[in-house]
């Protein structure tokens, strides 16, 4: 969403505290999950599996599942048959097209599944950038403080001072050909500041904890404290945060796609499916509904799971 990155900031920064009660987790992590979190995890696995299957269908799975070609226009000329197809644009759901067809008679279900690949890649890349770079920098500055922190946080502030969509639009429009790699990279880099802030806040809090103060008091080397005490304690919160951040990143990519500024056609993304189907809203709203639903459910699931792990992280830390 346009204000997604700022929103990353507006989410209360998760700082590990011991306020929430979650039943102890020594009985296995899955069995303890609330039903919603289980469902969410299930959906996310489904999305990830779908995305990977769609990507590797031909080469690895050899078409084991009946997933259609997402780019086949069923009313267009088909080189294999040498004839025009008999499909119709904007068809309703049927046995041959589970979710109907889009404006140029392509199978909506196949496009939806293939669209998941883009969301998956963008979210994973941004999380990786965020956790590795943002996590390191944030932990470091939160622990070291001083001038280094001032400078680093000033840089972060500058990046965060831009309305995210403007920054994205400008950056993305500088590049002429927008590949999935490029989009992921730009969004990934832009994710770093938010992770840095979270890592710093946690690092700050942990640095003030008794065991760190004690380590300092007995003269443990700072580097050792950072890697032995700070980072391992920042990481769980950061990973949980990554789930929530991924939810926002999926929305950001959806927005870019919606504005026609994400990956190149004919690759489907949920956002560009919504954008294209919006033209025919009056004729057939279902073509807007499916990608909207996929996008929303995925964001919801990421939020659920992220929240759950944040709460769990809080408990674990309280027992330190």
């Amino acid at each position: 969403m346009s204000d997604a990155f700022p929103q990353l900031e507006t989410i209360p920064i998760p700082v590990a505290t011991a306020t929430e009660e979650v039943s102890a987790s020594r009985f296995g992590w899955f069995r303890d999950m609330p039903i919603l979190v289980k469902l969410s995890t299930g959906w996310l696995f489904l999305v990830v599996f779908g995305a990977i299957y769609a990507k590797l269908d031909e080469s690895v799975f050899g078409g084991a599942l009946p997933l259609q070609d997402p780019n086949l226009q069923t009313n267009n000329f088909n080189a294999e048959t040498g004839e025009f197809g008999t499909g119709e644009p904007l068809e309703g759901p049927s046995a041959s097209h589970w979710l109907g067809t889009d404006a140029i008679a392509r199978d909506t279900f196949a496009r939806l599944v293939h669209g998941a690949w883009v969301s998956l890649i963008v979210a994973s890349v941004s999380a990786t950038f965020g956790v590795v770079v943002g996590g390191l920098v944030g932990s470091l500055v939160g622990f070291v403080r001083g001038r280094f922190e001032t400078v680093a946080m000033a840089v972060i502030d500058v990046i965060l001072a831009f309305p995210a969509l403007v920054l994205l639009l400008a950056l993305v429009s500088i590049f002429e050909v927008r590949s999935l790699g490029l989009i992921s990279f730009v969004i990934g880099v832009l994710s770093i500041p938010a992770y840095t802030r979270v890592a710093r806040a946690n690092s700050l809090a942990i640095s003030n904890r008794e065991f760190v103060l004690a380590a300092q008091a007995i003269g443990t080397r700072r580097r050792q404290i950072l890697f032995r005490e700070i980072i391992p304690n920042v990481l769980p919160t950061l990973l949980a945060y990554a789930m929530v951040a991924a939810a926002f990143v999926v929305v950001v990519e959806g927005t870019l796609s919606f504005l026609g500024l994400s990956v190149q056609l004919p690759q489907s993304t949920w956002g560009n499916m919504i954008n294209q189907a919006r033209r025919d809203l009056k004729v057939d709203i279902s073509q807007v509904v499916w990608p909207s639903l996929a996008l929303t459910l995925t964001v919801l699931a990421l939020n659920q799971v992220g929240d759950y792990f944040q709460r769990r992280g809080a408990v674990r830390q309280s027992s330190l």
């Binding site: 226009q73 025009f84 004919p266 033209r279 009056k282």
Partner: protein
């Protein structure tokens, strides 16, 4: 007459298409009226033409196939008073006819504030509007016009021949008018009487009156007020039926009734009928239609087939709306940059046209049953349309297209320098509009299924799209490969054809022996000496048959060399609340029925609200 062209003339002509092509790229439409008719018919037609007198005025036409653009409009009792809101496709850049680009949306507003010297009729001829008469000399180098008397500008200043002379001084500095002055060969404007004005041309132009019906040279503004361009932009002054009241950029432009307007209807009732019109830019197609359906606006303006499709469905489903549709020459499609491999090879161009399933493209545009397939610069309804050229245009033929591509790919001398057997690679770019995005993927699908081409689909915003096609930084070669574009308009063919096929670069001009003639607006960079000479020849005569033959020869040559390709002709419409009347039945001062709403450009002075 010498066939070797005066360089300046040609360059001037080259300038002309600017507007049409610019707007074309923007998905808009052209700025003016209808098919130019041969001038010699104009005056005869004037006498013959009679406004339709029965209860139903008809405009539009029953086009070929199942494309239906017929409009019926009740011409019952006129009602004076009332106000309407009109939703337009885009905000206009500014209010100065000589300076600001004026596309279809803008034209709707401009005609309320400014009167034009000439106007086009139902049959596409040009008749005087603010002028009372205009006559050429023998070789079309001098045109003498007489102004209507007793007309005053909104600020109280009287309109005289001297006003037109002073206007010309300002027009010569305006970026829009300049190119029109050049293109029309206009050299001097003199007041040869109180109300008599003489236009001197540097070269013959039999189509000159067409220019006086366009915004850039035809719309009359108060030259005194226009001396300060910025102030004028904030408070424009014309003689038109409505007076500018206010403008809230991107939101609303309001005009109110000019109580002192010179015009009356055939019953002698003072025009305009309406008290006030609010024009609102609503870029989103669906939203604009919804606004009219929900009564927020009374009129929705559109240049999109799928919006027309949706409105028809709404109307047939019981919504109380009327569609004023118009299908003009303007045609969608695209162009190859013939200076860039592989498009310098005619085999590739022809193959790709043969691999484009035109019907499916039009379906993707939402234009099935709405938009006529394009085969040339003119629509089937145009007097300039050529059956021979239509027959010559390459039809969809997968095997033939594939064979041509194979021939190129296996040619050791292939122009793109790749190894024999390697795939052709190019970029196909369209502006980021959902409709164009759908359409571009249709052609993409078939072409790539030959497994002989790799196509990179890109969508740049309009400004970038135009800049790439223009290529101001590389001698106007441009950095595009295959590009979505729109061509042609409903003006005299010379106004758009000539610049589009003049030499595109200095080298080509030099090679053709006309070194000064370079047209950056030849975006496809395609040059053919015969086409060029035919285009020049066509404005040196007003004989329709001669001109027709020249334009037909151009269409045939384009069908042979395929520097461009066509999808469908642009369907446009004003979608109105059922109560809105008078968009079809308006008349010229002579009583001749006007041209309706070409390119969704309404004439609002005789619009009224029924009951």
């Amino acid at each position: 007459m010498t066939e070797r062209l005066d360089g300046r003339l040609a360059r001037l002509l080259a300038a002309l298409a600017a507007f049409a092509l610019l707007v074309a790229a923007c998905g808009g439409s052209s700025d003016d009226t209808d098919d130019a008719a041969p001038e010699d018919e104009t005056e005869a037609a004037e006498a013959e033409e009679e406004a339709e007198d029965d209860d139903v005025a008809e405009a539009g036409e029953e086009a070929e196939g199942d494309v239906d653009t017929e409009i019926e409009e009740s011409t019952g009792e006129r009602v004076v008073g009332g106000e309407i809101a009109v939703g337009l496709e885009a905000e206009l850049p500014g209010m100065r006819p000589w300076e600001d680009t004026c596309a279809s949306s803008c034209y709707n507003i401009f005609v309320t504030i400014y009167d034009k010297l000439m106007e086009s009729t139902e049959t596409g001829e040009y008749e005087p509007w603010l002028l009372e008469s205009i006559t050429p000399n023998e070789d079309f180098t001098e045109w003498v016009g007489t102004l209507r008397s007793g007309v005053t500008f909104h600020n109280g200043v009287d309109l005289t021949a001297q006003s037109l002379v002073d206007m010309f001084a300002i027009q010569q500095t305006g970026s829009q008018s300049q190119s029109q002055i050049a293109a029309s060969n206009l050299a001097t404007v003199e007041a040869t009487g109180d109300l008599e004005v003489t236009y001197g041309l540097s070269q013959p132009n039999s189509a000159f009156p067409a220019y006086l019906s366009r915004a850039q040279l035809g719309m009359v503004f108060e030259p005194g007020a226009a001396a300060d361009g910025d102030a004028f932009n904030a408070a424009p002054v014309g003689t038109g039926p409505f007076v500018f009241e206010s403008r809230d950029l991107d939101n609303e432009t309001i005009v109110t009734k000019n109580a002192d307007y010179w015009g009356t209807d055939s019953d002698g009732t003072q025009l305009p009928y309406l008290d006030k019109i609010s024009f609102r830019p609503i870029p989103d197609e669906g939203t604009r239609l919804d606004a009219t359906l929900s009564g927020t606006t009374q009129v929705a303006h559109t240049l999109r087939q799928n919006t027309i499709r949706d409105s028809r469905a709404e109307r047939d489903g019981g919504a109380e709306i009327t569609l004023f549709e118009f299908q003009g020459n303007n045609v969608g499609g695209g162009m190859f940059n013939v200076l860039v491999p592989p498009f310098d090879d005619i085999r590739v161009r022809k193959a790709l046209v043969q691999l484009t399933p035109q019907d499916q493209v039009i379906e993707a545009l939402g234009g099935t049953g709405i938009s006529l397939p394009g085969t040339q610069w003119f629509s089937p309804d145009s007097p300039w349309y050529s059956e021979a050229a239509a027959a010559a245009w390459p039809q969809f033929d997968f095997e033939a297209g594939k064979a041509l591509l194979e021939e190129y790919v296996n040619d050791p001398e292939r122009s793109d320098g790749k190894a024999v057997g390697e795939k052709i690679e190019y970029e196909l770019s369209c502006p980021p509009d959902p409709t164009l995005i759908a359409a571009m993927q249709v052609g993409f699908e078939v072409a790539t299924s030959t497994e002989l081409v790799d196509i990179n689909l890109t969508n740049y915003d309009q400004q970038t799209h135009i800049n790439y096609a223009l290529g101001a930084d590389n001698g106007f070669v441009g950095s595009h490969g295959a590009h979505c574009w729109r061509f042609s308009d409903d003006n005299d063919p010379s106004t758009s054809l000539n610049p589009a096929f003049a030499p595109p670069t200095a080298e080509i001009a030099a090679a053709a022996g006309i070194p000064d003639v370079v047209s950056p607006l030849n975006f496809a960079n395609y040059f053919d000496g015969d086409i060029f000479q035919a285009a020049i020849g066509a404005i040196r005569t007003d004989n329709f048959d001669e001109r027709y033959a020249l334009y037909e020869s151009i269409s045939l040559k384009i069908a042979e060399d395929v520097p461009v390709w066509w999808s469908g002709h642009t369907a446009t419409a004003l979608i109105t609340d059922d109560a809105v009347m008078g968009l079809v039945s308006w008349e010229l001062p002579s009583g001749t029925l006007g041209q309706g709403m070409p390119n969704a450009e309404g004439r609002w002075h005789q619009v009224w609200l029924a009951g």
